[in-house]
Every structure is written in C-alpha cells, then in structure tokens.
Subunit: 367 residues, 2 copies
C-alpha cells in the first residue's frame, strides 16, 4: 500500500495538458520566438496606468479576498451590482470552479467539437461526460448545442462568442433568440473573452439576473493583462454566491486587482488598442491573401487562415512557421484544422510572419 | 426546475469563508487600520530586487505554465530536482488541488482541532470527513495525529511546523522520529509556511523522494510576497506529476513567478528580514509582559499572547484592539482561544499596539 492514494477519478485522469506554453516550445528549440502570435495575447500591452498601478502595489499584503474595489468598478461599468460579479484567476480558474459546483461524476455537459480545450479539461477533471456538437460553417451552432443539451439533460452548455479558434461570432440578438430553445435545467456558459474587440451588438442584451446563463469576461485579451490572471463572471446572485463555497478566497494576486481596475478606467487606451487590433487583423488577412490563402472573418484578436487543404497540410505550415521563430497555433478538429490561427501582432511581428509564411508554405507543399 | 443545478455536495456546503479579510473589516468600520498585524504578512516587505522584477514584467504575456525558471531555482536551492516541485497559487491553492486529488466523498482526513481553517475548508469542499485531535500544551501532537490517522484510515494528515496560530514547533529530528508511527496509506501534509524564520533544525531532514509526505512552502511570509500568490510543494515526482491532472495550468501570474525568483536569490535581504522578525517577536513579547500577559515562544512571524482567562476575555481584548485600529486575530478553539495572535510589525506598528493594548485590556476587564 502506498501513501499516495489518489481518488479513483484522479487515477483515471490523463496527465496531458490543455496547452503547451510557448516558453516550453522555446526551451525545446533552444531559441526565443521572434513573434509571439499563438496565445491570443495582446502585444499592444495594457494601459500604462495599469502598469503603474501594478508596480506601485504593496506586495507584502494579501489581496482583498472580495476584490471589492474591482467588483464595484465592474458593476458600474456594466450597470449591474457587485453581487452579480465574481472575480477569479482568469476565465480558466472560474470555469474550473463552475464545473466543480455543477458537474458531478456522470453529469452531462455539451460543447462544440473543437471549442476551448480547457473547458473540456475541467469537465473531465470532475468526471463529467462531454457531448460534442459540430461547428456549422466555422460557427458554433447555438440551436444544435441547445438541442443536444435537451437530448442528454446537460447541466452546462458551453458557447464562446466570439468563438476561439475560428474568430466567428453571432449577433447578440440572434443569441437571445436562440436561447428560447435552451432547455430548462441547463446553464449556458457564455465565454465572452473576445467580446471587447467584437462589433457592437455582439454581446447579447440580457438581464444580469437572468438565471439561464453565466457570462465569462477577462482582462487577458483586449485589456492586455494575460500575465496578471484576472477574469470575472456575471450571473444571477444565487449562482455568484455559490462560488464562495469552493473558490480559493485568497487566490487573487493584489497587483492584478489593482491593474485590472486601472485598465478598466482607461477607456482611451482601450479605444487605442481596439484600433491596433483592427489594423492587425486587416494586415493578417492581407498577408494570407497575398499567399493565396483565405482569411476568415474575425471578431477576435486573431485571424484563422484557411490553408486550403487538410489538417496535415495546415500542421505542416504551422511547423514551418514555428521552425522560423513564429509562434502560432491551429484548431484541433477537422474540418477547422485546415486553418492556422494567428494572433494580432505589432507591425514588426506581422512583417516577420509575412516573411516566414511563403517559406513555410513552400515547405508544406514539398512535404 | 432551475437552470442552476448544483451538485448535491455543493448544495450541502456552507457559504462561510475561512477568513474575513482586513479590507472587509476596514470597510465595515469606515477606517483603515493603523497597524496590520492580523494576517501574518511580512510588513518588512519583499526584496527590492523582487519588487523591481515584478515591475519590469511584461504583463501582456501569460505566465509560463510550468514555472520552469522558478522550479529550476528552487530545485538548486533545496538540492533536489524540478520534478520534485509544483508551484501554485499559494499554499491555499495547492492544498485545494491536493485534497481534490486524494479525498473522495467520505474519505477520512486528520488535523489538529484549531489548526489551519483553509485546509478544513478544502476537505469539506470535496466531501472529506475531518477528524480532529487536540493540541498538547499548545503544540500540535504528531503521534496523536498519526494514531488517529491509523484509527480512521485517513488519506491525509495535516501538520504545520511551526504551527499557526500558536507559533509552537517541533524539531525536525523529533518529527522524523514521530513519522515512524505514520500509518501506511496516509500522506503527511507538512505545512512549512513559517519554517524560513524558525530555528535551525526545525525542518526535518528527509529525502525528497520520501513517499510519506508532501511539504508546503510559500513566498507569502518571510519572503514578503503575500500579494503575489506564490506557493510550492515538495514531494516525490509520482505525486507532483498528479497535480498536472487537475491544476489550473495557466493560473500562475507572470510577475509572481519573476518576483519569487528574484526574492529567492536575494539571500542578504532574507537575512535582514529574519533579524527584523526576531526583533519584532521580542518586542511583542515585551509588550505582552509589560501588560501582565504571557507571550508564548514562537518560531513564526507572529506571537500568540496568553491573555490569562477564557476565550470570551481574549475576544474582548481583540475587539478592543480592532476598535483602536490594530488588526489582530486569535485562535478559534479552546483552550488556545485564551490567546490573541499578533504578527510581527514595524517599530511604529508595535508602538501603536503597545499604546492600544492597555486600553483594550481595561475595556475587557470592565466587560
């Protein structure tokens, strides 16, 4: 008998990770990437006011476990109350808590086949049974997702709007309409990580007290604070309160709270970044077209580029880019895996991408 | 039927939190504490090199999910390998992952009655059944804990050395000897949060491959980085690897990793802080004695002061201090709750404590 008696669930889990980080790839290759365009980070960075607030943080003090100031500011920003908001260690952390609260072993959960792997990781980690619905024309398919949820009596259904990895999106009005078919007993997990750079009207207009959904937001994308690990969720107070039963109450780092608060207040910087993201999206699309590839429309801070053949070909293109110091990623599942996914970068980043892409394509065509 | 169908376990959990933060108390009182001496933080702060490293962090990038550089440095520091180390969101976060990995509903766990509430919170949160063993003379009692673990077939037994909230400690040699009675099938969770300011010989000398225990360490105490949320655990690689099945892989903030690395390397600052802690402990003891109270010996960055009567009296003293702007805490359980617990502070902090204590005592005696 060993001293390490894992639960039967823990024993059954694989040791695979949802994503291998760029640093791991850099260490394996023995070189640093010239352009870091694979993690949908915001190379344009956070508001200088956020940077200043973080640098000024008294690190010897624990962060406020209530994230009170940040929740107050977010409530004002969204026109809701702080009781509708929970702040956590990124959307990843909040997804973990949510799944833990609602998914017991054997409970059904629905997502799209090829959508966010970290959500799937958490569902597996608590013994949930995941049912996958195909994309429809590179869009997640809300009505099909909700129909499947009804079919399997799902407790959760996951939908990202805009979608990662494809960059596609639905209008908020269409989502509200589709939600009429959301079955009773099923909570919609609406991941809006990229909504801050989407066209107006992408976020559905719904009452914060609506018990049918929880919305996930983050400071990691358009706000440029991926390193600070600050996400939040908006839902009815009944559900928000439940997070207090399981979360790591002192899990939020103090500088992250201060940085997020400052970033939220700097609306000028946000507008500036959104312009840079739009410009970069156009430039990525142009580079793709120049190489005979098809950029997909995107409401996010990345562009999926259709390489025109199968997954093996796109993977060869990706490998050729990575070998040339350009960090990018790609969808996991066919037919979306005919694409590579390129995050918005600085002009220098995208020049490096433009230089590497024809060479990567030539390699892939020879392979 | 609601959309929010919590698991039966989640439904059964209370919404109480292990600790109410000082900021919450400040908001309730409408004033900021003059001296923050209740959370065992390190008022002397982190190494200036850590502060500099954190301020220089590129916040737009996610942190390395492997915390590779920090684990390399920790491995060299302890003379072990990075495979023996997992870095996480404070000891609190790591305790949560550990309980999740090992404790299924109904599994037995053993701790001391009055020891760290956040550990108990995690055990309850995963449906474990907690068995409590009394302190013996204000010390946790390893042999009694291990005997209880054998009795109830515990998967985990928790022991803090030095202990919080009492500040008492066992020599490492005594612990190694006591571990001969640790039953097969039970993992010792050795919380060494305060060991960095304990007398030499407090940390047991044990092989990092020893499968009987996992050691918890933190940058929140002597390293002065509570706000950064960086803890780590040392155990046999078999157990360390298992954390990868459930942890939030991108949960570590990037600045925290950089700050911890810089703090670890600044041994001069650590020595400086340890001197300040020792001086502050002596000053707290002196203030206690001057007021006719009994300071308990402490190997931690706080001192438990025996107020000489019951828990109600100590609580009245605590309330009197808090009302005068001095944030302190106290043990939860009799007979340890005859004490208040005062963290090491600056000379100014402790002067404020010295000024408030006689008034708080007079109030408590009148009550």
């Amino acid at each position: 008998m060993t001293h390490i008696r894992l639960t039967s669930l823990a024993q059954s889990l694989p040791s695979t990770v949802p994503f291998v980080g760029p640093e791991t790839q850099e260490r394996a290759a023995g070189r640093v990437f010239d352009a870091r365009l694979g993690a949908n980070e915001n190379v344009f960075g956070p508001s200088p006011r956020a940077t200043e607030a973080m640098a000024a943080t008294q690190q010897w003090m624990y962060g406020d476990p209530e994230s009170y100031d940040l929740r107050q500011a977010l409530a004002a920003h969204h026109g809701i109350t702080p009781d509708h908001i929970i702040v956590g260690e990124g959307i990843d952390g909040l997804l973990g808590y949510l799944v833990r609260l609602m998914v017991a072993q054997g409970d059904a959960v629905v997502t799209s086949d090829g959508a966010y792997p970290t959500f799937n990781y958490h569902v597996a980690g608590f013994g949930g049974v995941l049912h996958k619905v195909p994309y429809r024309g590179d869009h997640e398919d809300p009505r099909a997702l909700f129909a499947e949820a009804a079919e399997v009596d799902a407790k959760l259904v996951y939908l990202a709007n805009p979608d990662n990895p494809m960059g596609s999106w639905h209008s908020g009005a269409d989502l509200v309409k589709a939600m009429e078919t959301l079955p009773e007993g099923c909570l919609l997990v609406l991941d809006e990580a990229y909504v801050d750079c989407a066209p107006d009207g992408t976020a559905p207009v719904l009452d914060a007290d609506d018990p049918r959904l929880i919305r996930m937001r983050t400071f990691s994308k358009v706000y440029g604070l991926a390193g600070a690990r600050v996400g939040y969720a908006i839902a009815a107070p009944e559900l928000i309160t439940a997070f207090g039963k399981v979360r790591n109450h002192f899990g939020m780092n103090r500088a992250g709270q201060a940085g997020a608060l400052a970033a939220l207040e700097d609306t000028d910087w946000l507008a500036h970044v959104k312009t840079q993201i739009a410009t970069a999206r156009d430039r990525i699309a142009e580079i793709a077209s120049d190489n005979g590839l098809t950029p997909l429309p995107s409401a996010a801070n990345f562009v999926a580029i259709d390489c025109g053949r199968d997954g093996a070909f796109a993977k060869a293109v990706l490998d050729g880019l990575v070998a040339r110091g350009i960090f990018v990623r790609m969808p996991f599942v066919a037919p979306q895996n005919r694409c590579i996914r390129v995050s918005c970068g600085t002009p220098a980043d995208l020049n490096a991408f433009a230089a590497a892409l024809p060479l990567a394509l030539a390699d892939a065509e020879k392979a």
